[in-house]
Amino acid sequence: MDETRVDQAVVDEAGVITVDNLWRRYGGSGAGGFDAVRGAGFSVRRGELFALLGTNGAGKTSTLEVLEGLASPTRGRVRVLGHDPRRARRLVRPRIGIMLQGGGFPSGLTVAETLRTWAGTLSSPRPVTEALDLVGLRGRAGVYLRQLSGGELRRLDLAAAILGRPEVLFLDEPTTGLDPESRRATWRLVRGLLESGTTVLLTTHYLEEAETLADRLAIMHRGRIVRSGTPAEVAASQPSRISFALPADLREPVPDLPGTLAGAARPAANGGTVLTTSDLQQTLSALLEWANRRGVRLHHLNARSASLEEAFLAVAEEADRSGGGVSSDGVSDDTVSGDAAMGVAA
């Protein structure tokens, strides 16, 4: 019994979830095999929401399945609440809640029957009506699952995941297929769970969702973690952008401006110019000063701070260009294309 006891303080120190050099391979070690997760590592602290972002096939769900104890790692080590989630399934499962990507309830049962069945398999379930209230399905309790909309099914999935009052909640794309209002309702519910001390690991395609909910996040691409930090930190890994169009008759290039990154100016798709800068205010001031002095009219002027979305898109772009060889140790500086043209587009 004592072996299975894990010191709570030790867990909280190391993280409620820890992932260490995780590899997961499908289809054996031969040439036909495929490494879905290639050396991912991160940890989630008690009470925080950690978001895993990534394109389709980035390895998010493959990572989650190992943490949920549904699959074994090919290499590496994961711990959930201090235990191996697969070997110590009996100890871990009563304390975690899992929302899979979808499906998995018989279509011939009603909403209430489904949750009653699920509650019957749990150690300390909430009342079914409470769970229905939390996800806003109280009025649909007697409806057969085959008659529910995709969004309602997703909310039922969520109700099942939180039915056992989990300490750690895994949400795999919880708001996919939800209308904006239901999405916000789900966010409110997740925030409530966070306030009551639940630790949440969430995957999502929606950057807004990660930006709104996550204390920290990681961007996965091709099985690796290529960025991680708070949403602000990850966004700040990207340069800010200034875009504008110059009058067609202008024969003069934009001068080198302070703060712009090497090779920063490049032609935009609409024939305008895009500048990338590490210091938006300084570069923008200099640009406007130059334009005023020369009497140049800047059309479609747009200045934007870095966003999570840009960081996300840059990761995909840069990794594709370099064949997926992005270093896994976080933020790199040279995220802007090296083949960008200097100066003004003709």
Partner: protein, 272 residues
């Protein structure tokens, strides 16, 4: 929020989970008219056929009640347990229900047993009710020893639950179950000794037939109900225990083999 100890009440927890899953499965069975019809009527119809067949009467030694109950048990295991459970497990697998359940607290065997629960309950209820009816209607002598008969039903159920789990490995859809269940539905039934005496077969084939999963069920039923041994002698209560050892051993071997194979090959998710 205190984590529960893993040992105290672990069995009770397991039973609670099995019952919860079984109740849901029973609701689904009740709402599936075709499955319910197959499960409920096949054994009764077959029992009628068997009791009215003079060939089987010759094999059974003309004890109509014993003959009916033996046939009923065999058919209930095949139709109500085996066939029903293959379709149920495949349907749940394809609907991702099994995958979902594996993400919960129930163990693998609890999931399979819970899913099998209504099918087994239907089969056992048929055997019990059928036995009462058969002995009330045309019972002559009381059963010699009910224990071999009980062992036949319990072990036979375990074997056919495991065979059902294994059959799902080659069954990609519920419709396909009509084809993939044929070998298990036909071969063991044809060669179980219910329709002709296995002594009629050439030696090696007879040996094979005695190793099939339904044959020991039929042998144990006959032994328990009429005291008829595998080689056609008649024994009393005292002699029936020793005679039961052989068939019981064959069934136990099937359970061990089936359990091992199911653990190894059973698929919890649809193949993509």
């Amino acid at each position: 929020m205190s984590p529960r100890p893993g040992t105290r009440g672990a069995v009770a927890d397991g039973i609670r989970r099995i019952v919860a899953l079984g109740r849901a499965e029973a609701l689904l069975l009740r709402r599936n008219a075709v499955a319910l019809l197959v499960a409920l009527t096949t054994p009764a119809a077959t029992m009628f056929m068997i009791t009215s067949s003079s060939e089987s009467g010759a094999v059974e030694g003309f004890d109509a009640a014993a003959s009916a109950v033996t046939g009923l048990a065999a058919i209930a295991l095949l139709a109500a347990v085996y066939y029903n459970l293959v379709t149920a497990l495949v349907a749940r697998r394809e609907e991702l229900v099994l995958k979902r359940l594996r993400a919960g607290e129930a163990s693998d065997s609890e999931i399979v047993i819970g899913t099998a629960l209504p099918a087994v309950a239907v089969a056992w209820a048929q055997i019990v009710l059928g036995s009462v009816a058969a002995y009330a209607l045309f019972g002559t002598a009381a059963p010699v020893n009910v224990l071999p008969a009980l062992a036949a039903v319990v072990l036979g159920t375990a074997v056919f639950v495991l065979l059902a789990a294994l059959s799902t490995v080659v069954t990609r859809s519920v419709e396909m179950a009509q084809v993939t269940t044929m070998p298990v539905l036909i071969v063991p039934l044809a060669l179980c000794g219910l329709f002709f005496p296995l002594d009629d077969l050439p030696g090696p084939l007879e040996q094979v037939a005695r190793m099939l999963p339904l044959t020991p069920v039929v042998d144990l039923m006959r032994l328990g109900l009429t005291g008829t041994t595998t080689d056609g002698r008649t024994v009393e209560l005292a002699g029936s225990f020793g005679e039961a050892a052989g068939p019981v051993l064959v069934l136990v071997a099937w359970v061990a083999l089936g359990g091992w194979a199911a653990r190894r090959w059973f698929q919890w998710e649809p193949r993509r």
